[in-house]
């Protein structure tokens, strides 16, 4: 099943319509303090076969957006505006309009999601096999032997001792193993789109490393369309073809991984890059972004980044910029992106991009 749609997979991505398009998506939470504007008008195309990384500080609305795509938001949240268009084989549908049955079929079969908290993603009283089989059966695949064979293959793909893991209970597996099982499970129905929400955040550094390698292999071999959510720019750089920076519920810059890394045009992206320690020991290079993310209930006027932005002017306090073209396939939402360009030219960011290397800020 996994290699079935070869013809489909090998289309040149450029000529294909994006499998997933978000159009002006707004998501709001009701809370005691008032409406939380977690996502404020996101436009995003997920191109066929690409791996797009969504980065931003904690609280910028990344998880909310991911959950919004598969319509798994909590009851207090609402998509107040916009549409989520999903396409496959030339057909197109608005995820927001699906009825309960269609939605059930859409989930996992078309778009699966690896959650932030893999540790608790498994039902503690069911064996891995039962949770896998539940999933297959829910989508009309009830040939036990075939499913089992497929699951074993997937478990091997994620480098687990498949025969043992398949009949284990979740608590018998370590965090890293559970994360891999979850990744294997996300591939069970060979979905077109895979959303990964901080798949490495809860893990120790060594395990993080193996998961990242696994994801890179997944990207190279399976040619899925991936939305990779992370607050860690270094990890994003390793896995992404394109990177989108999110701030206060909006995408403020989007471009190829190279452009974002070498030629950022938004002060927030620049801040994020400078906050990544390049080489252990050179702490003088480390500049974290001052201040904290804005209150999403009571947002600042104008550009939402202005209270923290070193480039801010009077205009920034009054008007909020929209994404504008700043280069080939590269957009940023900043009135003063040229100033950022000059700044980057004066103070180059990297001697070399740590393309295959991750440097950790931890120990």
């Amino acid at each position: 099943m996994s290699q079935a749609d070869d013809a489909f997979v090998h289309h040149e991505s450029i000529f294909e319509k994006p499998p997933l398009s978000l159009r002006n998506v707004h998501i709001m939470y009701k809370s005691r303090k008032g409406a939380v504007n977690a996502v404020r008008g996101v436009d995003l195309d997920l191109r066929a076969g690409e791996s797009l990384s969504l980065i931003g500080e904690s609280g910028s609305g990344k998880t909310t957006l991911g959950l919004g795509i598969v319509r798994l938001l909590v009851k207090t949240a609402k998509v107040t505006q916009g549409e989520i268009i999903y396409r496959r084989d030339g057909l197109e549908m608005d995820v927001g309009q699906l009825d309960a049955q269609q939605l059930r079929e859409f989930r996992w079969r078309e778009c699966s999601m690896v959650f932030q908290s893999a540790l608790n993603s498994f039902n503690p009283v069911l064996r891995i096999w039962n949770q896998m089989y539940d999933t297959a059966k829910a989508h009309g695949w009830s040939d036990r032997r075939a499913v089992r064979e497929h699951v074993l293959n997937l478990l091997r793909f994620v480098q687990l001792d498949a025969e043992r893991v398949i009949d284990a209970y979740p608590h018998e597996l370590s965090g890293g193993m559970r994360q891999r099982v979850l990744i294997a499970m996300s591939l069970l129905l060979d979905p077109q789109v895979l959303i990964l929400d901080e798949p490495t955040t809860a893990l120790d550094i060594l395990t993080q490393r193996t998961i990242i390698d696994l994801l890179r292999r997944l990207k190279d071999e399976q040619r899925l369309t991936m939305l990779f959510i992370s607050h860690d720019l270094a990890i994003a750089a390793e896995l992404a073809d394109r990177i989108a920076t999110m701030y206060a519920g909006k995408i403020v810059e989007i471009g190829s991984a190279d452009d974002i890394f070498y030629r950022p045009r938004h002060p927030y992206t620049l801040g994020l890059i400078r906050a990544v320690p390049k080489v252990i020991g050179e702490f003088e290079d480390l500049v974290s972004i001052l201040g904290s993310p804005p209150d999403l209930v009571d947002l600042p006027s104008g550009c939402k980044f202005h209270p923290r932005c070193p480039f801010a002017t009077e205009r920034c306090r009054r008007e909020e910029p929209d994404l504008e073209q700043v280069g080939q396939d590269h957009a940023a939402a900043c009135w003063h992106w040229q100033a950022v360009e000059e700044e980057v030219a004066d103070h180059p960011l990297h001697q070399s991009l740590p393309a295959q290397t991750i440097v950790y800020s931890g120990e």
Binding site: D134, L160, E172
Partner: protein
């Protein structure tokens, strides 16, 4: 220097925690058994001495009964009592205690003081099944409906149905079962006259023979209906409330969200993902409640004149029939111990995270 890792050099993660070893299981069972025996011993000892602290004693009470009923003079009544009962209450307590223990070891629970010649075991054989039947059935009904209603309340949280059921459950679980029993008799039996309370007395109608016949089961249910109603109504509320809060917290678990993300059918999510996990903590309460319900049967069976073991116990207490009291308390103790053991096994079977015996 940048730190790089080469994943190919990392071993494939293969380790799995050790599976339950059979030897461990056995030693655990043995420990469990010893603990149960010790508990039983302590309770037996306590009951033996405590019931003898009750004011008066069976002989005194019997003598007084004779004096009041037949206007006998004291010495005549005492002589008659002494002739009737082959029991020496003058014997030192500690020796009586050892006699009793010795009997227990031989499986001899003694004979009733006030019905000479009737062994306590025959009381138990005759009356216990009715209590087990009514209490067991009530517990099953109460547990099942509490779980289902609690689940429903959690799913319909903050709805009118939830509010009504919550109030109902809180009120019901606050009423002691004997009060509810009296209310049932007053309202159903006397005020509205919808239930033939008088005919429902006893555990079977005269002439009905126990056996695998429909008539027998119908009659047994007919007679047990009111006690069962009283048990169910007074216990279902706490099951409902516990299940509701447990379900609410399980509904927030990530694995439920993941189950939805996987596109599972709602029915499967409700039973295997939400219901099963939410019901787990209730099983530990099951054991405790078995103890309470058996204890509670004393008053309920007396109110409804239902001839189970609780009814026997009250009779024995009133007449200070120490031997029967001891026997019944022993049965109650054993049933609680057994229920605990059973609930533990059930729990460790239902929840794979609980290694059999690791809870200790």
């Amino acid at each position: 220097m940048a730190t790089t890792f080469d994943a190919t050099q990392l071993p494939v993660e293969a380790e799995r925690k050790p599976s339950r070893a059979a030897g461990f299981l056995n030693s655990f069972l043995l420990r469990r058994l010893l603990k149960a025996l010790f508990t039983a011993f302590v309770v037996i000892t306590l009951t033996f001495f405590l019931i003898r602290l009750l004011p008066s004693n069976p002989i005194e009470l019997f003598i007084q009964e004779l004096m009041v009923q037949y206007s006998m003079p004291y010495h005549q009544a005492r002589d008659q009592a002494a002739a009737l009962f082959a029991i020496d209450l003058e014997k030192p307590l500690i020796l009586q205690y050892f006699d009793y223990l010795g009997g227990l070891v031989r499986g001899d629970l003694g004979t009733s003081i006030l019905s000479p010649g009737t062994p306590v075991t025959s009381f138990i054989k005759r009356f216990l099944p009715w209590t087990v039947f009514s209490v067991g059935l009530a517990l099953m009904i109460s547990f099942t409906s509490g779980v289902i209603l609690g689940l429903l309340m959690a799913y319909r949280r903050e709805s009118l149905l939830d509010h009504i059921l919550t109030v109902l459950a809180s009120v019901l679980s606050a009423i002691p079962n004997y009060i509810l029993g009296i209310l049932l008799i007053i309202w159903l039996g006397v005020r509205w006259g919808v239930v033939p309370v008088a005919q429902m007395r006893g555990s079977l109608s005269p002439g009905v023979q126990p056996g695998f016949t429909l008539a027998f089961f119908q009659d047994a249910l007919f007679h047990a209906a009111l006690p069962i109603a009283a048990y169910v109504l007074t216990t279902v509320g706490s099951w409902m409330l516990t299940m509701k809060s447990s379900t609410i917290s399980v509904l927030e678990e990530d694995y439920v969200t993941v189950a939805r993300a996987k596109g599972l059918k709602e029915s499967r999510i409700t039973t295997a993902y939400v219901g099963r996990n939410a019901a787990l903590p209730l099983f530990t309460l099951l054991a405790i409640s078995i103890g309470f319900v058996v204890g509670g049967s004393v008053l309920i069976e007396t109110i409804f004149q239902y001839q189970g073991i609780g009814y026997v116990l009250l009779q024995a207490v009133n007449r200070r029939d120490y031997v029967v009291m001891q026997g019944v308390f022993l049965i109650i103790t054993l049933s609680v111990i057994f229920a605990n053991f059973f609930a533990d096994m059930l729990y460790s079977w239902l929840d794979p995270r609980i290694k059999f015996g690791a809870a200790e």
